[in-house]
Symmetry: C2
Subunit: 405 residues, 2 copies
């Protein structure tokens, strides 16, 4: 298992990709807000998108583009500072214009440019600023670590630190590298897709081969994550495979190896996103076990993870298990409280739905750590999920109550 790391180790770069970022003036702060990732000879792509019915223009365009090209991507253009969501037909046109312009400059069809946006909802995209900055963005691209870090920095909004994870694996006599880059940090409750996450690999695989691997990797990692229960309108996970390693997925061993590296990188990004959630002081690794089904386990995990009373108790490192039990009781599943056990760290605090003697100071100390495990056993079956979530602090309120529009 990958532990929660605040500063990831060395960044490993897959072959076949270059990166760049510039400040186009979309963010008021003047910080970098336009980023490029180019697959120099093109890449096969798999993607997952938000399940929110309100979807941003780049989700519409990006999804269409992947269908029309059969999963071929030459470059990803991401802007931060504006979500291009709830912007109607004009927002769609703005997104198309950016893709067309970038395609022209790179000499490829617009459909091979995959667009992403993140930031405020309901404000028209400042297309002129983006178009003006594109030549500089494209000229600056480079296949080194500094450029990859610049890409990771430019896609941030309220994130306080960049989110990167990478893996290198040996398959036969060759090496395959996988690099993941993500952003958080609010409106985080991915449902089947998530946030902005870009995964780059030099594996040689078709879009059709990549899609199920991406789905499986996300289900166990990014989809078991919530900061505030709000599913974003712009969530996107994109996996690009350049093929430059020459390594394919023909044999089962290679597929298994790559799949587990992909899951580990997604899990690391999920942990980085959650630990950098808005105002987060404590990350809770919530284990819901002995459920009848994965759906039931997730329902319980999400109800606990979204309870304001539970999250504020965690903010105070308060081992108030009664609030957790009350959340289980209202989740909608037919759970008998007398079968429920709750642990904080290694201590049992609730036995058969009732309080039991435990060292409260020890439980308080456990919850006061930056990362704490909470386990809820339902006594109904054999299915479990591991769900990453956070406390709810006054700082989260401060960040999100600022009069911004």
């Amino acid at each position: 298992m990958i532990s929660l790391r605040r500063s990831p180790e060395k960044v490993r770069l897959p072959k076949g990709f270059s990166f760049s970022a510039v400040a186009a003036g979309i963010k008021v702060s003047g910080r970098p807000d336009l980023a490029l990732a180019e697959a120099v000879h093109g890449a096969s792509a798999a993607a997952l998108f938000t399940q929110n019915r309100v979807v941003a223009a780049p989700i519409v365009i990006g999804r269409q583009a992947l269908v029309s090209t059969g999963g071929l991507v030459r470059a990803v253009i991401v802007n931060s500072g504006n979500a291009n969501c709830a912007t109607g037909h004009r927002g769609i046109q703005a997104c198309e214009q950016v893709c067309r312009e970038a395609g022209n400059l790179l000499g490829v069809p617009a459909a091979e440019i995959f667009p992403s946006s993140t930031g405020i909802i309901g404000v028209q995209l400042p297309t002129e600023k983006i178009r003006a900055a594109l030549p500089e963005l494209i000229a600056a691209r480079s296949a080194d670590e500094r450029a990859a870090l610049a890409f990771a920095d430019a896609i941030m909004t309220t994130d306080t630190r960049r989110k990167i994870a990478s893996a290198r694996l040996r398959i036969g006599s060759k090496e395959v590298t996988l690099l993941g880059v993500a952003k958080g940090a609010g409106m985080i409750h991915p449902q089947l897709a998530t946030m902005l996450v870009y995964l780059f690999t030099d594996l040689k695989a078709s879009a059709r081969e990549l899609q199920p691997l991406l789905r499986a990797a996300c289900d166990g990692s990014l989809n078991c994550t919530s900061i505030d229960g709000d599913t974003s309108t712009n969530d996107t996970v994109l996996l690009l495979a350049s093929g430059a390693s020459g390594v394919g997925l023909k044999d089962a061993g290679a597929r298994k190896k790559f799949s587990s590296a992909l899951t580990a990188v997604c899990q690391s990004l999920a942990e980085q996103i959650v630990s950098d959630g808005e105002g987060v002081q404590h990350v809770i690794r919530l284990f819901v076990e002995q459920a009848r089904s994965r759906k039931e386990a997730l329902l319980v995990a999400r109800t606990i993870a979204h309870s304001m009373l539970v999250k504020t108790a965690w903010a105070g490192a308060d081992p108030n298990w009664g609030r957790i039990l009350a959340a289980v009781g209202r989740c909608g599943a037919a759970i008998d409280p007398s079968g429920v056990q709750i642990f904080i760290g290694s201590q049992k605090v609730c036995r058969n739905g009732m309080g039991c003697a435990f060292d409260e100071r020890q439980a308080h100390r456990t919850l006061a750590q930056p990362v704490c495990d909470v386990r809820v056993l339902l006594g109904r079956g054999r299915v479990g999920v591991r769900f990453l979530t956070t406390d709810l602090t006054a700082e989260y309120v401060r960040i999100n109550a600022d009069y911004s529009t």
Copy 2:
């Protein structure tokens, strides 16, 4: 429509009831924490209880008692400071003991004593303290306003003010009086029943006649209310009719008159509970309209009302309608965003799922009021709900993050 009132007008007392309260030492603060309401000659009772699967001992006992007596109640005993929830068999026995003791002192069977508890979950009820205080509690009972106010004060936990509403109506040549008393102020998201609410009337009606009236009154008032989305384990609404007015419900006109007074009193209590919610700065009257069904309208209202991002924007009086639209998008109903209109006060801020020109300062000023209307039109049908909710402030976090167990 009853407006949001912080200090209700004159309290009207129904005939046939007396009240009292004492400090039994359950609350650490030493404030009154044990309350009695007695129907001097007994009363017909209707009740609604929490839908949480984790239920407190008094819910189990109170429900059984109403069945065994056919809806006859002589007295209500409420303690604050301890919820007697997740306390297992011992908690049930403690509750039974309190009812038996109170029944002995009043000379009625234990089943005619209706018990309620509110406070911390998972701690055994201090039965000895309650039993020791019962004789004084019963001796102190009185049929005047001061005693009714003492009852209302003693059932409070984190409430900052008492919650009372009353109505007097003329039916034929006679008067019927209705008095409602409630407590909040956290773990408020009633589902079919709600919080602790006691309704006293001198109407002459059977338990069977009262139940549908209570259900209807609550559906449109207390059940359209949420502070934090957490449904309590102890929610109870109890309606007692002493019959002392001599007025019955035989004719349809009387039934309609009483029903609308009951709804108005419940609505006033709902508004008082919400405006005194933990840390609440702004009450939002959320109107979700043009839904296909009441279920759909409630789903949308609850998703908006429970979105931490929406609630924190309200705390900052931020007219960030994009977060409201995003909440509509993830609620689970098949809503087409291009049919959605959003109003803040009387201003339209989102037209057909897109931003439209509006006076942002005016919208900010509207949201900065203690009470603000937000309207969301779905463009799908003709059903609407009015849902009362609140902002989410740093003060709410402070109250609930205090290390309390």
